[in-house]
């Protein structure tokens, strides 16, 4: 295990004692700063708009971030393992949703959902194989794959959209338990499972180790390439889940349904503080990142800022998050 995220806070590096106060503050900020930012934002939001802290509005926020949150939970693994980025997220969302709704009348909804998720995991595995065995740049590999997959998905529906005919599953996704929407439970289940997989299994440790230092991990006998492939497969599967859930929610699937999700998911992961270069971060941090972006968007809506203008704020959040992250890391080290 590496870094300040998992182990105790150390004041020693290379045998020299650093100023403990600075290091402590830096390390604590590194570990808990992100949650404090979320709390601070919520406090600010409450002051700015009285309607922010109502149950209905808070539920709105979590419902609106659920889809991107599920995709971001999987993308976290790609970043953790040092895979940099998965640009296939939008096309995998579309492919999985289209395959699911297309096969639904013949094989039934449960099998269709499984088939859609399998498609996503399959695309992710192909990404992973090319990245791991050919050591190709993940950005360009997933870019090429997204063009291919988008074309294939589009050829199934001939460029049109396809509708959901199973009313039951649509109602289930839209339903609420204790007035909390089903998709939020699904999001929490994925984040919980992702966190457990990362922290409590050998595979999770391999992910962190591979991301931190692939060469050292290989030398210590880890199956580095398989770990990388699995990380990309996880990202493909979660993107598929997000796409299928989105299709059930809106009642149809089309090729452009996931447009922009890859960047929203990356924003959430980066704002959450997972390192771009792998080896440090967690799925629960990504959840906090998703919520931060969701809260900011919500506040802007409440303050009646146009939706189209929100990109400027999102851009500023990304820059701020990355700069703060770099500064705290530098202080800790």
């Amino acid at each position: 295990m590496t870094g300040s995220d998992s182990g105790g806070i150390s004041f020693r590096r290379n045998g020299r004692l650093r100023s403990p106060s600075l290091a402590t503050i830096g390390a604590l900020a590194g570990r808990w700063g992100i949650a404090l930012v979320l709390l601070g934002l919520m406090l600010l939001a409450t002051l700015l708009s009285p309607s922010f802290l109502s149950t209905g509005n808070l539920l709105n926020i979590v419902r609106s971030v659920a889809f991107v949150g599920i995709a971001a939970a999987g993308l976290t693994y790609v970043l953790l393992v040092g895979g940099l980025m998965d640009l296939t997220i939008p096309s995998v969302m579309a492919l999985a949703a289209i395959v699911c709704l297309w096969s639904q009348p013949t094989i039934g909804t449960p099998a269709a959902v499984a088939l859609g998720i399998a498609c996503g995991a399959g695309v992710g595995s192909v990404n992973g194989v090319i990245v791991a065995y050919f050591r190709a740049n993940p950005v360009i590999v997933t870019l090429g794959m997204s063009i291919v997959i988008g074309g294939l998905a589009s050829s199934i529906v001939l460029g049109n959209q396809i509708y959901n005919y199973d009313k039951g599953i649509g109602d289930f996704v839209e339903a609420s338990v204790f007035s909390i929407p089903t998709v939020v439970f699904i999001l929490l289940a994925f984040v919980g499972a992702g966190e457990l997989l990362l922290r409590r299994t050998t595979f999770g440790r391999w992910v962190i180790a591979t991301g931190a230092n692939a060469a050292a991990s290989r030398a210590s006998g880890l199956r580095v390439q398989r770990t990388q492939i699995a990380a990309f497969a996880i990202s493909g599967a979660t993107a598929a889940v997000a796409g299928i859930l989105l299709a059930f929610t809106v009642g149809y699937a089309r090729i452009s349904m996931g447009a922009g999700y890859e960047f929203d998911a990356l924003t959430a992961v980066v704002v959450g503080g997972t390192s771009l270069f792998g080896g440090s971060g967690s799925v629960s941090r990504t959840l906090v990142g998703v919520l931060i972006v969701g809260v900011v968007s919500n506040v802007l809506v409440l303050m009646s800022v146009q939706t189209v203008s929100q990109g400027m704020v999102k851009g500023a959040i990304i820059v701020a998050a990355v700069s703060i992250d770099m500064r705290t890391r530098r202080q800790v080290r």
Partner: protein
Amino acid sequence: MNTRSIALRAVEYRIYFVLLAAILILAMVAPGFVAGSTLTSVLQGAAFNGLMGLGLTVVLIAGQLDLSLGSTVALSGMAAIGLQPFIGAPLAAVVGVSAGSLVGILNGVLVAFGRINGMIATLATMLGIRALALTITGSRPVVGVDLNFGLIVDQPILGPITLRIAAFLMLAIVVQYVLLNTNFGRNLYAIGGNVEAARLSGIRSDRHIFLAYVVSGTASGLAGTILALSLNTGSPNVDANTIIIVLAAVVVSGTSLAGGTGDAMRTVAGILLISTLVVGMNIMDVPSYYQSVSIGTILIAVILLDRVSLSYGMRSARLASARAMRHAARVSSLEPKDPPAHEASSAG
């Protein structure tokens, strides 16, 4: 030159062979492909993507990435058209191009001086600039008041060469010259190849990376201005696939995302390849989704070829260096130092 180095050189400049093969195959299978109108449509299509591709090439050679191209195109186009009623068409076009430079300056400041990862910084500016473009116009396209001014962009100057094609080819020549024959260009390759080595040899990498982004932003500004003038419309919505196609064309041509390789002429060939394929497949009535599948497949195939040839090349380089080390050991009859010095000092 032995066969191995010839093979490696052929892989390095493979884009010219791929382009030639694509033209030959299309000439055989697509009836009506061999025509003057094909050349015009290929070049017209290539010019817009090509201007962006040339800017992106400069950034990639320096080992960075620019995702904000599409948003920059939108902002520049809207400035070039939307400002026409206020300052006149020629000046508005200048402002359009300068808007691109400004985005480049912003990217450059964030990456070179703010030391934020290039992909993340330009992701942020991509989102921000697109939002700015949408906000200014209330998400509506703006229509120009001076229709005649826009017409000159697509007037033939010489044979099939229109002003926009001329702008593309001129920029290609300038970028090629700067990359290969100036200190700035050569330093970019050094930075992209190994930023630490470049720093140790006294190259100020931050200034070079900053300028690379300014070049990229200005080229996108030019592309956006030309596109908007030709349509007489500035649209805040850019086709999300634009950056994907441009990046694919540049990478297929042999410019590595890792930096340090590529040049403007190969980028021109890569852009021409994509444009030729699109025109050829349109002639053959291939549906657009199968066009995407084939272009994506070509991209992935070239990446795989790239990696396979690179590992082949590295193996031969390793063999050569092992031979050299054995030779050196024989000459000096010295054992290699063990353990290395830096490990010994950090162990205690």
